[in-house]
């Protein structure tokens, strides 16, 4: 009996020690207001020159999610360090989905990175909860950052209740990547501005052979069905924040898109990473990929040799999903002056042109995009810039991340063929509306 008691205790202890559940980190910083910069600025040294002579370097944590851009940005950070002795930039790269988990946890725990990338999906949550430093006054006082030089739509994304919480970094559009070699072999004309959905479909049919799929219709929104929805005049989210998935035009676009999978012209692809693997291994002849993939695609010898990029095909109109990132600063950074100095550089004409020159991303600053185009002779990347004129800002609301994932879950059975597209789309509309209803 004694033995039983002992082992019972042992088992319980094991159970407890293994069950390290997440604890709701009660935030102690309720008193910390977003406008707390005046308090913390007294901690920061008055001028960086003093810091340098004092020999005490300030290290800024800079978080981002795209390892493709990290190399170029490191170069820019090195140059910034050279011009600003006393400031060190420590880059922290985390993959896209883990990035937001990391950021959420560090925001809750009060240890946000000093400078980090912001996205339209998440800006509302971070801005409305006072997690970001209000940059309005700093921007107004700056002679380097001029928001009027950036596209208005991108600036607006990061404006919450009249305050600017991030400086635009870049913009991106989605292009149609195609295998030139396979097009030549099949005697097909390369995709161009005149291409319609029918051309895309016919080409996919011709190109599907010998283990290669003609087109990649993956379960992916921004680099997938979103584009088709807007080309068909449908919508993902309406002006009055309702789901657009029950709009007949949206459903029609989804049907066209899913049909590639149904007819075997596209593989069934559900994972995010798998998509780029497929195109880089020559398993698909055409696919939709955003401009941010450029570095990775250029480094891939097979793609550099065989692929090129064109504008997206049209239906009732031309459209390409268009979005832009921003640089934000943590509300409770210990070094607001240094952090701003870095962000100011990144958002200045000089910084934006450098970013474009290095081919890191399409700089949002007026005129800088041309430098980006000439940074890459491998592909015809002018097309990405051309598409801005009819670009549709990536649909977002206050809880985008939640409904986006739930919509993908709901659309999944349409791709596997377990449900009709219409039924799946109606389910998607339902879960999305439920989620939107919970928005304040």
């Amino acid at each position: 009996m004694k033995k039983t008691g002992m082992s019972m205790i042992l088992a319980l202890v094991l159970m407890l020690s293994a069950l390290t559940a997440c604890s709701g980190n009660e935030n102690k910083s309720a008193s910390e207001t977003p406008g707390g910069q005046s308090v913390s600025s007294s901690e920061a040294s008055p001028s960086p020159d003093n810091v340098a002579s004092g020999g005490e370097a300030v290290t800024l944590r800079f978080a981002l999610w795209d390892s493709n851009q990290a190399k170029g940005l490191r170069k820019m950070a090195d140059e910034f360090e050279g011009a600003n002795p006393g400031i060190k930039i420590n880059m922290e790269v985390t993959g896209w989905s883990d990035y937001w988990t990391m950021l959420e946890a560090s925001a809750t725990g009060g240890s946000l990175p000093d400078v980090f990338w912001m996205h339209s999906n998440e800006i509302y949550r971070y801005a409305s909860n006072g997690m970001l430093l209000d940059l309005t006054d700093r921007i107004n006082a700056s002679d380097k950052v001029d928001l009027s030089k950036f596209p208005e739509g991108l600036v607006k994304i990061y404006n919450f209740e009249g305050k600017q919480y991030a400086v635009p970094k870049d913009f991106d559009t989605i292009g149609l990547w195609y295998n030139k070699t396979l097009f030549d072999q099949a005697n097909l004309k390369y995709p161009d501005e005149s291409w319609t959905w029918d051309d895309l479909y016919n080409a996919a049919k011709v190109l599907t052979k010998d283990g290669v799929y003609g087109f990649l219709a993956a379960l992916h929104n921004q680099e997938g069905y979103y584009n088709f929805i807007y080309q068909n005049g449908g919508t993902v989210i309406t002006e009055d924040k309702r789901s657009g998935y029950d709009d007949p035009k949206t459903i029609e676009a989804l049907e066209f898109y899913v049909n590639f999978v149904r007819e075997g012209l596209s593989p069934q692809v559900f994972g995010d990473a798998e998509r780029a693997d497929l195109i880089a291994n020559g398993k698909v002849a055409m696919g939709l990929f955003g401009s941010w993939n450029l570095t990775g695609f250029t480094e891939n010898e097979f793609m550099a040799k065989n692929f090129d990029v064109a504008v997206l095909p049209k239906k009732v109109k031309q459209a390409s999903i268009y979005n832009g990132l921003g640089y934000a600063i943590a509300h409770n950074t210990k070094h607001p002056e240094e952090a701003w100095k870095f962000v100011e550089y990144l958002g200045s004409k000089e910084g934006q042109e450098r970013q474009a020159e290095l081919g890191i991303a399409i700089s949002a600053y007026e005129g800088a995009a041309n430098l980006w185009v000439s940074s890459n002779p491998t592909f015809n990347i002018q097309k990405f810039v051309d598409m801005v004129q009819y670009g549709v800002i990536r649909p977002y609301s206050n809880t985008t991340i939640i409904w986006e994932d739930k919509v993908n879950e709901a659309l999944k059975p349409a791709f596997t063929g377990d449900m009709s597209v219409e039924e799946a789309a109606k389910n998607a509309a339902k879960v999305m509306n439920e989620s939107l209803a919970e928005e304040k």
């Binding site: 069950l19 935030n27 559900f270």
Partner: protein, 306 residues
């Protein structure tokens, strides 16, 4: 109230108590801070609709639990988790037992074999899963490549709802066999050699020796291995997390309770509901463990001490 009992305790006994408490303090403090307090915090959180960044939690009473009972995904996850445990635990322990018995004998290269079997335990789960993901890849994975070379039809190892959980269980078995083997080896070496010598004189063969001597005397270790493996299996997360995206068609049929908790807490930012899911898991593990502890009287045999 009365100071009576204290007087009866001798000084040396008291110092022994103090020493006792002092020596277990590090473990106790760790256990309380890292495990017991979070459990109560999780329980507390499960009655709230959580606000962003841990602020503005709204008390909702039993709403999360009510939602949980009506959420088919939760019950899928319960089924998947139990099914996973059933696939991994018996097979894994049987394999561990066989390798332990084989490697307990004097065979050539014993140390080398033991090391090989133990390597999966030392390897980082995330790295291991990456390698398995490559092997399983339906378009150019090694397994499907070999199958196609042998003219078999290829299999969607990680996206076919009927197969994905078994693919994951295979990794689970592969990565735990080594650890359990080492524990069982230690148990086997506790068994006095004299028993085997005596039974040999009585004419018992190897097989009979295994069932009559080895198996009964290894039961205390086996019990420990079963309980820990079971708890570990019920908490499966990392492999599924890395292998199965939410968009994967096999998601419904392979999501485990911990993965569902993770998705609700960190993806859908509903920590209150996530906490309720974890409490459900805690209850399930408790029930399973209590049953095991109760049942041990029927099959675990402790050698008389001294």
């Amino acid at each position: 109230m009365s100071r009576g009992p204290y007087k009866k305790v001798s000084l040396s006994q008291r110092s022994e108590w103090y020493w006792g408490w002092f020596l277990i303090a590090p473990t106790m403090v760790g256990l309380i801070v890292l495990n017991i307090i979070p459990i109560f915090q999780t329980l507390y959180l499960s009655f709230f609709k959580s606000g962003d960044f841990g602020r503005g939690n709204i008390y909702v009473g039993l709403d999360n639990y009510r939602k949980l009972l009506n959420d088919p995904q939760v019950w899928h996850a319960v089924g998947n988790t139990l099914l996973y445990a059933l696939m991994v635990v018996p097979t894994g322990i049987a394999l561990a037992m066989i390798t332990a018995v084989l490697l307990n004998r004097n065979i050539k290269g014993r140390v080398l074999y033991r090391t090989i079997y133990f390597i999966p335990v030392v390897a980082v789960p995330a790295a291991v899963t990456m390698v398995w993901r490559w092997l399983y890849n339906s378009h150019y994975g090694l397994i499907n490549y070999l199958l196609s070379r042998l003219n078999f039809s290829t299999v969607n190892w990680t996206t076919d709802p009927d197969i994905a959980l078994a693919s994951i269980a295979l990794i689970g078995i592969w990565s735990t066999v080594g650890y359990n083997m080492v524990l069982l080896l230690a148990g086997l070496q506790e068994i006095p050699k004299t028993y085997y010598e005596a039974s040999e004189i009585d004419g018992a063969g190897k097989i009979r020796q295994f069932f009559v001597i080895t198996l009964p005397l290894i039961t205390p270790t086996l019990f420990f291995v079963v309980v820990t493996s079971m708890i570990q299996a019920l908490q499966v997360f990392d492999v599924i997390y890395m292998m199965i995206d939410v968009t994967n068609p096999a998601y419904e049929r392979s999501v485990s309770l911990v993965y569902l908790f993770y998705n609700n807490s960190f993806k859908y930012l509903n920590k209150g509901y996530g906490s309720a899911i974890v409490m459900l898991l805690l209850v399930i593990i408790m029930i399973v463990t209590v049953i095991q502890v109760k049942a041990q009287r029927k099959w675990v045999y402790y050698m008389k001490e001294g």
